[in-house]
Amino acid sequence: MPRRLLLVIVALSLVGGACSGPTSGELTGIVYDEPVAKPSFTLTDLDGEPYDFVAETDGKLTLLFFGYTSCPDICPVHLAQIAEVFDQQPRIAREAEVVFVTVDPERDTPDVMRAWLDRFDSRFVGLTGTVEELDAAQEAAGLALAIREDGGEDYLVGHASQVLAFAPDGLGYSVYPFGTLQSDWLNDLPILVGLTTS
């Protein structure tokens, strides 16, 4: 095979490699201008116990996401991405808390939520509450309130699609919109885990 042709083939094969793969250095999520404090709210966990978000996640890398189990696209993909990254990085998974807050308390009963979250990772925490409590939690997190759309029994719920990440020092440095890749998570989670108060 002519040498030039071989070079073209090698170069093309690298095209695939150059487009992906974990990187290192800076956060790839959407970084806040100034770090933000963890939102303060207390909801109910899936065992029916009160869950004080700030206290329960103190000192842990925390990923906070508002969604609902009947969500057709964004919620399951976000959680699947995080779960897959945790499978690859068990050390980070052990130090992290993923908190999923429903915005559809009517359909998302504790049993439904537990079964749904277990599809991804049984360590994921599910929270629910009254509509007022859930609205207050979204407001505290600085998110637009979820809106129930028309559609009969199979209604959709419009909701914020970003995952809020808080480092173990209790501050939020970045958010992760839908479209965040596993390579982004693999890059950012070790950085965030390293941001401790000590």
Partner: protein, 269 residues
């Protein structure tokens, strides 16, 4: 949403059959043209060839239509790879086997390809090189993500794969026998080298990559419990070992035919 060709969509996958008009047209037009050409030319149907041609059309239809087409266009990298194998290793060779010589001569004359020949080593190397450049380019994430989001782009990619398939098999199965490479061992070496050497690079990359490399499949609604990583590993394995039964099978047929012809020739001497 009904589209004329399979394209990546953000909607969750459902197992309800969906028609793609473009796929039906692209499958039926060649079939009717094939039958009409026989009638117009007053040529008899050779049943083996007709069945091969029909099987080729069915393989094309299966690769392009529901469910493999839409799964490959936007949900599973493994289905994308299965599509590639169906086009290049099943549909294309069957369509060539099903094309009678007189029809092949006409097609090549109309396409001004009558002088195309793969008898010399150089032209075989060129065919192998073009096939492999096409393989690498069409599987590069940047290409897949740019083309699979649009019907026209998705159609273009599938057609390029069909053309690659024809190019791959012409030196071995061209309906115009003079176009083929003559040496049986040359055919075997050509097929093995063309389909198995360069393909190892992307296949290994898919299998062993730490993260999914195609964001289109990574961010697609998941199907069942298959993770994006598992899907990509499966795609790599399909690319790596999916070629084995067809290419090695073909190589074995060529080899044994050659061996038995040699044996017959020896016994005549």
């Amino acid at each position: 949403m009904i589209t004329w060709w399979c394209v990546s969509q953000e909607e969750p996958w459902t197992w309800s059959w969906t028609p793609y008009p473009g796929v039906w047209i692209a499958s039926l037009v060649p079939l009717f043209a094939y039958l009409a050409a026989h009638r117009r030319a007053g040529r008899p149907f050779e049943s083996k060839r007709v069945w091969a041609f029909v099987a080729g059309v069915v393989a094309f239809w299966a690769a392009s239509g529901w469910p493999i087409g839409p799964l490959g266009a936007g949900y599973l990298a493994s289905a994308h790879m299965l599509q590639f194998l169906l086009y290049t290793l099943v549909a294309a060779p069957l369509l060539l086997i099903g094309t009678p010589r007189w029809m092949g001569e006409r097609i090549f004359a109309r396409m001004r390809l009558s002088k195309l020949s793969f008898k010399r080593g150089k032209s075989l190397v060129a065919a192998a090189a073009v096939y492999n450049v096409g393989l690498l380019l069409s599987h590069a994430p940047i290409t897949v993500e740019a083309l699979r989001g649009y019907q026209l782009g998705s159609f273009f990619m599938d057609m390029v794969w069909m053309l690659m398939g024809f190019l791959l098999w012409l030196p071995v199965l061209s309906p115009v026998t003079e176009m083929r490479t003559e040496a049986p061992l040359g055919k075997v070496a050509y097929l093995l080298a063309t389909t198995m050497l360069v393909a190892i690079i992307p296949a290994s990359y898919l299998t062993f990559s730490e993260v999914p490399i195609y964001s289109i499949y990574e961010l697609a609604p998941r199907i069942g419990s298959i993770t994006a990583g598992q899907d990509q590993q499966m795609a790599g394995l399909i690319m790596k070992i999916g070629t084995v039964p067809i290419i090695w099978g073909t190589a074995a047929v060529i080899w044994f035919r050659w061996a038995s012809e040699e044996a017959r020739a020896d016994s005549r001497r």
